[in-house]
């Protein structure tokens, strides 16, 4: 699966510009992390990719064919979990998945449903009505419906929200496995998810792509811009403090800056540091 985004722009009817001149190439197998602050334009981008919005300018090609002209066929190859979604509360998890399997036009619906129920560890609760499930279990039903029919392009928007750490690791591995032969786009605020499984990271800010590459590349770009120091009474405007830790010697600060001050000790950047540095730079 290859998704080509060319000069994509999206402006809401109220005039607010959500995306500006975005160009991207996404190709399977790949697990792409999508990050950006709130309001950066992640949901519009994902909605455009699931044909939920129409672009103001530019094109999206799926395997070389314009998405708009092949919408029905494209949707058959798509699995999508939005950040905010609902389910039919009166149905059981299994019935919801059967319903979605029918919507996706799957032939062997029972088998497909059993497979994804097993993938999301929900076999025991398959007969339970949605209204009786916990938030995490509902989230798992949501992930399961996206996985139905082994779609070639999976889009997950904050899929691990509400899951306990053990479940998060389970799903992280599940996404990683899926990305062995598929294209997976994972939008998340949880940096560990990106760091541990994504082979590519896209950072979007103010509707523009600020970075597109491997997490390692982003980290490398930030070397020499991360430091630690003991908290000082006066604020240094050039520093953007990313963490404060209470230690026996006082409060230790971690910060990013274009130029490190003399009193600070350079530190090896993490992906979180790199992301924050990138956003900080974009703001200035």
């Amino acid at each position: 699966m290859k998704i080509s985004i060319n000069s994509l722009s999206m402006t809401y009817p109220n005039g607010k510009q959500a995306l500006q001149d975005i160009s991207l190439e996404l190709e399977s197998p790949s697990l792409v992390g999508l990050r950006g602050p709130n309001g950066a334009g992640k949901p519009p981008l994902m909605k455009l990719l699931v044909a939920g919005l129409t672009e103001s300018a530019g094109t999206i090609l799926a395997d070389g064919a314009p998405l708009r002209e092949n919408e029905t066929a494209y949707k058959r190859r798509l699995g999508y979990l939005p950040q905010s979604f609902g389910l039919y509360d009166e149905l059981t998890g299994e019935r919801v998945l059967e319903y979605m399997a029918a919507l996706k036009g799957l032939h062997d619906q029972k088998k497909a449903v059993q497979a994804v129920l097993s993938d999301v560890n929900l076999e025991e609760k398959r007969r339970a009505r949605i209204r009786t499930l916990s938030g995490g279990q509902r989230q798992r039903v949501g992930i399961a419906q996206a996985l139905l029919g082994e779609p070639r392009f999976l889009i997950f928007d904050e899929p691990t929200v509400g899951l306990d750490p053990e479940e998060r690791i389970h799903f992280r591995n599940l996404f990683s496995r899926a990305a062995q032969d598929k294209l997976v786009l994972l939008s998340t605020h949880i940096i560990e998810d990106v760091q541990s499984v994504c082979n590519r990271l896209i950072v979007i800010h103010h509707g523009r792509i600020r970075f597109s590459g491997t997490p390692q590349e982003l980290i490398r770009m930030t070397r020499g811009h991360v430091c630690t120091f003991s908290e000082r009474p006066e604020e240094d405007a050039a520093l953007h403090i990313t963490a404060r830790v209470n230690t026996a010697d006082g409060v230790q600060c971690r910060a990013v800056a274009r130029t490190l001050p003399a009193y600070a000790q350079p530190a090896e950047p993490t992906l979180e540091d790199a992301y924050l540095y990138l956003i900080e730079e974009a703001e200035t």
Partner: protein
């Protein structure tokens, strides 16, 4: 994409919803309200009471219930945000269509279950007049119509409005409007359930079924068109109504199909074949006198053919022997049912030009032609079509002529062209030859003769009459009992379905009533050659009427409700006697008074029924079952709250006030007036009263001829106003 699988899961999802079962329960229980709480049909035949009313009420409740279900089915994905997932898997347009079909399928299943549920009870209640065909027709055309139309409208409105509250308000307002006064006047205006004023027990309800089916097709076209348009407004790509509409216009088939269906529905509406186009101010309309005095009609021969019992169409060839004494060509007008069209006119074998005047008036229109100057002319008119209904009677669905597989009633211009000229003499003959289904018997205003069967399920019939210039015919599963009326035969023609009901003392008591009235008041006007015929007719004639030697008794006289009416008699046989006495008081002569609206035929007929029962069963029985009952009900009526305080009646809501007034009127008409006449008898003596009544019957009234007023009655009895009262 397997739409079948999609439909299956959507239907399965519906079945898991509580609201679905609520809609199902409401539709299942809806018909119960039609037995008593809400009776939209006017007719009181058994089929009207136990089939039409429950089906109409069930249909209306089903319409509201399934409209609500449809709205909820569309609202829920929006409210629960499952649309965020489903829209990414399938086009919202397709999903909207699948949701509609699922609700429609649910509606069909529910109506089928409702039909099966009420079948045994309806069969039990209708008993001898039950028709399985009519039952399922009513289920399909009346009961099913509500949920289907309600669902379609709800889906369309919601896809435009995208707001549950607005959509619900609009749909409910449309349902209420459809049952309002304006819509009830036009059969096509009833979008939700068809206009059904009555259903016939014995003679078929073909007119109702035809108009119901036609109006359902019209509304299916219009609502489907609206729905297809609304599909274009299904919100997608984050756009509003106009944006989505513009975006979906690329599916050119949808707007094209919507436009085609809208145009089809519009054309069907405009060209409906059932109702004529008489002027709305028909009461003030004065048709021109087109009668040609230079032409005389020496004889008429009609050959009529029923073209289709299903469609109710007839074709015919009418041959007229005309004498033209003017020596010049003459303009001749003839009247023809508005639904018929002239196919050919010839005079002495030569084609004659004709002009359809297109001037509908009381279900007939005039056709003009010019006859040659020859003295003896044989005019032949080929014509055919489906009889139309007078638009003033559309709200009653009362058709002057009708043709169905169970009954036929035609007369005058509804049977054949009615020429506007003079009859040659009192014996001018008119004959009719017609082939009818083997199961049918022809009854006519003249004499009838059954011919040989044709071997194709039809039998030839011949009817002839003299002096009237036209024939009145009835056909159905008629049976005849000959009763004696003052030495002359009275033929009582009734549907074979009623044979069990009439086999007991019913016929005997009718004979007794005829004897009593003939002896006390005088014979009805009939002769040995042209016997008086009492013909049971369809419920759509609402009661009875008389014309020439034919007196019609609507079949509702024989309904359980009427036969159990305590106002008319102590038991069903006595009610039949009451209805026969109406042939004298009501059809023979009639009572009316401009200053006393309660002075009606009902009171005189009730009094005569009492007198008949006094002769048959003794004075003690008659007093207990009639006079004492009148005294009791009139006393109760006089003491009722609203009669003592009419000022409160004025402030009651209109519907309640009408109900109270109707109950009071019924007491005054039947019991009060009968009591007045009884009190007159007490004052002047029974013998003298009988003489007074006989004189009034034979001579009619003087104050308001031909009606007999209260003043006429008091004068004849030498009584003063106020000497006899109802209370």
């Amino acid at each position: 994409m397997s739409l079948r699988a999609l439909f299956r899961v959507e239907l399965g999802r519906l079945l898991c919803g509580r609201l679905t079962w609520l809609a199902v329960a409401a539709t299942l229980l809806g018909p119960l309200a039609g037995y008593g709480l809400y009776r939209p049909a006017y007719g009181d035949s058994m089929a009207s009471l136990y089939l039409a009313n429950p089906m109409l009420t069930g249909g209306l409740i089903g319409a509201a219930a399934f409209a609500l279900l449809m709205l909820a089915s569309l609202e829920k994905p929006r409210r629960s945000r499952i649309a965020a997932i489903t829209d990414a898997a399938l086009s919202p347009l397709r999903l909207a269509a699948v949701r509609l079909f699922s609700v429609l399928a649910m509606a069909v299943l529910t109506v089928l279950a409702t039909g099966l549920l009420y079948l045994p009870y309806t069969w039990y209640k209708l008993d001898i007049v039950f028709s399985l065909g009519d039952y399922w027709l009513a289920t399909a055309l009346i009961l099913l119509s509500g949920p289907v139309m309600g669902t379609l409208l709800a889906a369309a409105v919601d896809q435009f409005a995208y707001r549950l509250d607005i959509s619900l308000a609009v749909v409910l307002a449309c349902i209420v409007f459809s049952q309002g006064a304006w819509c009830s006047r036009f059969f096509l205006a009833q979008w939700c359930v068809p206009l059904v004023t009555a259903l016939s027990d014995a003679f078929g309800s073909a007119v109702i079924w035809r108009t119901a089916l036609y109006s359902r097709i019209v509304w299916l076209c219009l609502l489907t068109s609206l729905y297809l348009l609304s599909l274009l407004g299904v919100r997608q790509y984050g756009r509003g109504l106009i944006g989505s509409f513009a975006r979906h216009l690329r599916f050119a088939a949808l707007p094209l199909l919507a436009a085609t269906l809208a145009a089809g529905g519009g054309i069907l509406w405009a060209r409906q074949p059932f109702i004529d186009h008489s002027p709305s101010d028909w009461m003030s309309y004065q048709p021109e006198d087109r009668s040609n005095t230079a032409l005389t009609l020496a004889g008429t021969e009609i050959e009529a053919r029923i073209e289709s019992y299903l469609l109710g169409t007839l074709s015919g060839t009418a041959s007229y022997r005309i004498t033209n004494t003017s020596g010049e060509s003459q303009e001749l007008y003839f009247e023809l049912d508005s639904g018929y069209r002239v196919r050919e006119v010839t005079a002495n074998g030569n084609p004659v030009e004709w002009e359809d005047m297109c001037n509908d008036y009381i279900a007939a229109r005039e056709v003009r032609c010019v006859l040659p100057a020859e003295e003896q002319i044989t005019l032949v008119v080929e014509y055919g079509g489906m009889p139309k209904m007078w638009n003033a009677q559309e709200e009653l669905m009362s058709s002057a002529g009708f043709i169905s597989g169970k009954g036929i009633e035609l007369f005058g211009s509804h049977l054949a062209p009615s020429l506007l000229l003079q009859l040659a003499g009192e014996e001018t003959p008119v004959t009719l030859d017609i082939a009818l289904r083997d199961s049918m018997t022809l009854v006519s205003s003249g004499t009838t003769r059954r011919g040989a069967p044709n071997g194709d399920g039809t039998t030839n019939w011949h009817a002839e009459d003299a002096g009237a210039g036209e024939l009145r015919i009835f056909a159905g599963d008629y049976m005849c009992r000959t009763l004696e009326g003052g030495g002359f035969p009275i033929e009582f023609w009734y549907s074979a379905k009623y044979e069990p009901r009439l086999a007991g003392e019913g016929i005997d008591i009718m004979q007794e009533a005829i004897d009593y009235c003939t002896e006390h008041y005088g014979p009805r006007t009939f002769t040995q050659d042209k016997p008086f015929k009492i013909v049971q007719s369809t419920v759509f004639q609402f009661g009875g009427s008389a014309s020439g030697n034919i007196s019609q008794m609507g079949e509702s006289y024989f309904s359980d409700q009427n036969l159990a009416s305590p106002d008319k008699g102590a038991d069903s046989a006595e009610v039949l006697a009451h209805e026969i006495i109406h042939q004298w008081w009501g059809l023979g002569v009639s009572l009316a008074d401009m200053e006393d609206a309660n002075w009606t035929d009902e009171g005189m007929t009730t009094y005569s029924t009492y007198r008949l029962m006094a002769e048959l069963k003794g004075e003690e029985y008659a007093r207990a079952n009639y006079v004492e009952k009148w005294e009791r009900t009139t006393s109760q009526n006089a003491q009722s709250f609203y009669m003592r305080h009419p000022e409160y009646l004025a402030v009651l809501p209109e519907a309640y006030a009408a109900e109270v007034k109707a109950a009071a009127d019924s007491v005054n008409w039947y019991d009060g007036t009968a009591l007045m006449i009884y009190r007159a008898e007490q004052k002047i003596g029974r013998e003298r009263l009988d003489a007074v009544l006989a004189r009034l019957y034979t001579q009619g009234g003087g104050e308001l001829p031909p009606y007999i007023t209260l003043g006429d009655f008091l004068n004849a009895c030498d009584l003063e106003e106020g000497e006899i009262g109802r209370a």
